[in-house]
Amino acid sequence: MARKSGKRKNAFLFEGSEWSFDTLSRTYDAIEKIAVEDLGLEVYPNQIEIISAEQMLDAYSSIGMPLMYRHWSFGKHFVREEKLYRKGARGLAYELVINSDPCISYHMEENSMAMQALVTAHAAFGHNHFFKNNYLFRQWTDAGAVLDYMEFAKGFIAKCEERHGFAAVEEILDAAHALMDHGVFRYRRTPRGGPGKEKARARERQEYEERTFNDLWRTLPNPKGGIDASEAELTIAERKKKLRLPEENLLYFLEKNSPILDSWQRELLHIVRKIAQYFYPQKQTKVMNEGCATFVHYYIVNELYDQGLITEGAMLEILHSHSSVVFQPAFDDQRYNGINPYALGFEMMQDIRRICTEPSEEDREWLPEIAGNGDWRGTLRDAWANHRDESFILQYLSPHLIRKMRLFVLSDNEKDDHYTVASIHDERGYDSVRRTISRNFDLGALEPNIQVVDLDLRGDRRLCLEHTVRDGIALAGKSRDEVLKHIARLWGYEVSLRGVDNLTGETVYKTSTEDSQAAA
């Protein structure tokens, strides 16, 4: 072990499969050299933590955060993951990486040294670079503050449980979790507030209430939902304007406007909303993020091998693992489970490199901006920084790759009794394949578009939601009704949901919490 590196010209960084902190750090340095000097990556400082399988399961079940508040659903996920793992139905990820500054990556202790090298390149440089440079992450997440915020959230929720009981906290969190996907701002940036500020704000709010508490107020008749009576005279348009309707961030709307929530309950919604917002960029960049990390590790380990720093055995192990990660079965294969984001992402990155260095005539025609520019490193870095999946695919998916993966569009219309192959990998089909697959990865199209459109403050305070139905795809009924009940719990009054066709403007369906109660 005490062999000095650099003594021989071709001294291997490690041999055999056992790892030690010594070999880890030596390998890290070699990888860092390639990542920074050759690929020009720009990363947060790394913090690499070695964890056991059980700890990995822990991290899995609390949506990948090292610090998380307590909730039964995490217990449920743990139990499920654990069972799959014990049965051998599912292996654990080799690593887990957190978008924070310093960037924390978890490596499993049972990885062999070759695997540790692979995951170091993958997580500590690939993902890390992506987190630090992609515009979505820069715009929407605050890597420096996330861990502090989670610390605050955990403490705050634990305190609420002490004060108000498990059941009361659980009720609000359940409802908030149900709305998590609809608790994000898609277009505007929330005003920034540091973790210290958050805590101070919550405390201040509480202290103010305690100071100004006067039991006499309780005996007065309730004001109408805390909103001025003059409001009643406002026309619908003015009312909507005042409440900034329509509003797509349901959690935000409820946090600010629900007539029945206490301040601590609003704070819980705020916490869940912040977490949802933090993860929002990751959901939009699966292909790019994994593609970037996979490309980076592939390039780096090959480079290590070419420099004679790792053994052939290690290289074979790495390649075996790499090829199973980027495996893409065909649609009629039993193992087919949609398009593998690792595979698509990796292929696209490799393809961009090819286009930059050895473009064909076709590439020059389709991607004139980058074809043959020779600077594949800069081109890739630029793509990683300025796109999300949808736009990335639309911009860079080349006919060459469409042919290579033999992509085709299958169209399924409820009215027909057959599927139609709409386009395939030919001259006429490239454009349509590219547009369709881009839409398949567009979160805006994947998640239902639901907004708060109105509420009747004069009447029964009903909250009106509107679901914009595209292509006639409805919501799954049972869970829809469950979520409505959750919203009603947070809002305090009836909630109704109307499905409106995006083209014709016709009402497709209508439901409300009263209806589902009547049905039950």
Binding site: R70, A330, D332, L407, V409, S411, D412, H418, I450, G472
Partner: protein, 443 residues
């Protein structure tokens, strides 16, 4: 150079409290499953590892998501082989394309059951819930083996409270002698000598005084170097954890299986047997269970037959006691085995037989047994009528007599699971006071 942190030694069970929250959430469903498992499982492994299936109801996490059916949708797939644009493919019957059903389940829509394993503690906690056991009994049942610390020589490390003073001082003394630690007495003598010389100073003594002083310094330094008690001397009492003498026990389950014992009665009886078994399991290394059922004649059977096969015939309780006696004499010599008996019945007996039973108990059976518990299972409606323990069936009255003679005989009428525990109260009370029933065999 990155910051490497080894987290493997961090405290485990980080997600334990999430698990507890989850179990609390799924409580109602778990309870059902446990009640079912009491029915389905054999007495001896009722507290083993439990794989539990919970319906997703109540633990679903609903979200707004698109339905997997209907509408118009375009999907890009990989690996086209022979299709060209415009081809039409017939839809599979019943439902949309592959994978959709699975997605729906993840969204909380599916009806698939959610499976996981309960630990022994978690299982027992739920099992005890409606038995109304006192907490003390619960904890003692959940504890698997009891250990007792026993003195086992000396050791060089341990807690300060366990220092063995005698040993320590003996070592210290030996070391002091071996290393010639100067005694206080010698020092005092030299000091006195110096003093006396100085009191009456004579020039020829100056050298002598200097010599004595040097000697005094040397001795004092040596006293410091060779301490009175060195860490090397210290000895601690060593304790070994010794398992309590658990030996072998046999548990006889006697039950009336004539037609009048229905499903409900048998299930109550089963819970009664399980509780006794749990208790015995905690006390003994090895437990045999003998099932004896009887109508007008008794036979030893296996557990399945015991609980689930139906017999017709009259009811003669003494036959079961005879059968038990036969088994004891044949296989369970009392010097090796602790004998426990549990009997369940609905109280019917052939007239005149009850007296015979009591006679048998008095003369042969009770002297053999550690404990004999009898439960009479009542209809819930009857429970009120038979509140007073004086009236009742002939068997009941006869057994009450035995109960008065023998301290380790318990008879009780039960209608609900909550009534079972008092039958064993005596048994557990003894255990808790530490005055356990005398074991017949010591090893």
């Amino acid at each position: 150079m990155p910051n490497f942190i080894d987290r493997r030694l961090n405290p485990k069970d980080k997600s334990l409290s999430n698990r507890q929250r989850f179990l609390r959430r799924a409580r109602a469903q778990l309870k059902n499953v446990i009640n079912r498992s009491v029915k389905d499982r054999s007495i001896a492994d009722v507290d083993g590892r439990q794989v539990i299936s919970v319906p997703t109801k109540g633990i679903g996490e609903p979200k707004f998501h698109h339905s997997s059916k209907g509408g118009k949708r375009d999907q890009v797939l990989t690996g086209n082989k022979e299709f060209s644009a415009g081809d039409k493919l017939s839809k599979p019957k019943g439902g949309a394309g592959g994978g959709a059903g699975k997605e729906a389940a993840d969204g909380g829509e599916g009806t698939d059951e959610f499976q996981f394993t309960l630990s022994r503690e978690e299982f027992l906690e739920l099992f005890f819930e409606d038995l109304e056991l006192p907490d003390l009994v619960k904890t003692s049942l959940k504890e698997v083996i009891a250990f007792k610390p026993r003195r086992a020589g000396y050791t060089v490390s341990g807690a300060p409270t366990n220092i063995n003073v005698l040993r320590t001082m003996r070592n210290s003394y030996g070391r002091r002698i071996a290393l010639h630690r100067p005694k206080q007495k010698d020092l005092d003598a030299i000091a006195a000598q110096i003093e006396s010389l100085e009191r009456d100073p004579r020039p020829e003594d100056t050298a002598r005084i200097a010599e004595l002083r040097a000697e005094l310094v040397r001795l004092e330094r040596k006293r410091k170097v060779v301490p009175f008690i060195d860490p090397l001397d210290i000895r601690f009492n060593r304790f070994e954890r010794e398992a309590l003498p658990n030996t072998k026990a046999v548990m006889f389950c006697l039950m009336d299986v004539s037609g009048s014992m229905g499903e409900r009665e048998k299930e109550l009886a089963k819970r009664f047997f399980i509780l006794l078994h749990l208790f015995l399991k905690r006390r003994y290394d090895r437990i045999d269970i003998v099932f004896i059922r009887h109508t007008h004649e008794a036979q030893e059977v296996d557990e399945d037959t015991f609980f689930y096969s139906r017999e017709t015939g009259g009811t003669v309780v003494s036959t079961a006691l005879e059968e038990m006696l036969r088994v004891v004499q044949e296989r369970y010599p009392t010097q090796e085995w602790n004998i426990y008996a549990a009997q369940a019945s609905d109280g019917d007996n052939f007239s005149g037989d009850s007296e015979k039973c009591v006679r048998m108990l008095d003369e042969v059976i009770m002297p053999l047994c550690q404990y004999y518990a009898y439960v009479e299972i009542l209809d819930e409606r009857e429970a009120d009528i038979f509140k007073s323990s004086d009236n009742g069936t002939a068997l009941w009255r006869a057994y009450r007599e035995a109960g008065q003679t023998w301290g380790n005989f318990q008879a009780k009428r039960i209608a609900r699971p909550g009534d079972i525990y008092p039958v064993f109260r005596e048994l557990f009370a003894k255990q808790n006071q530490g005055a356990a029933a005398p074991d017949k065999a010591s090893a």
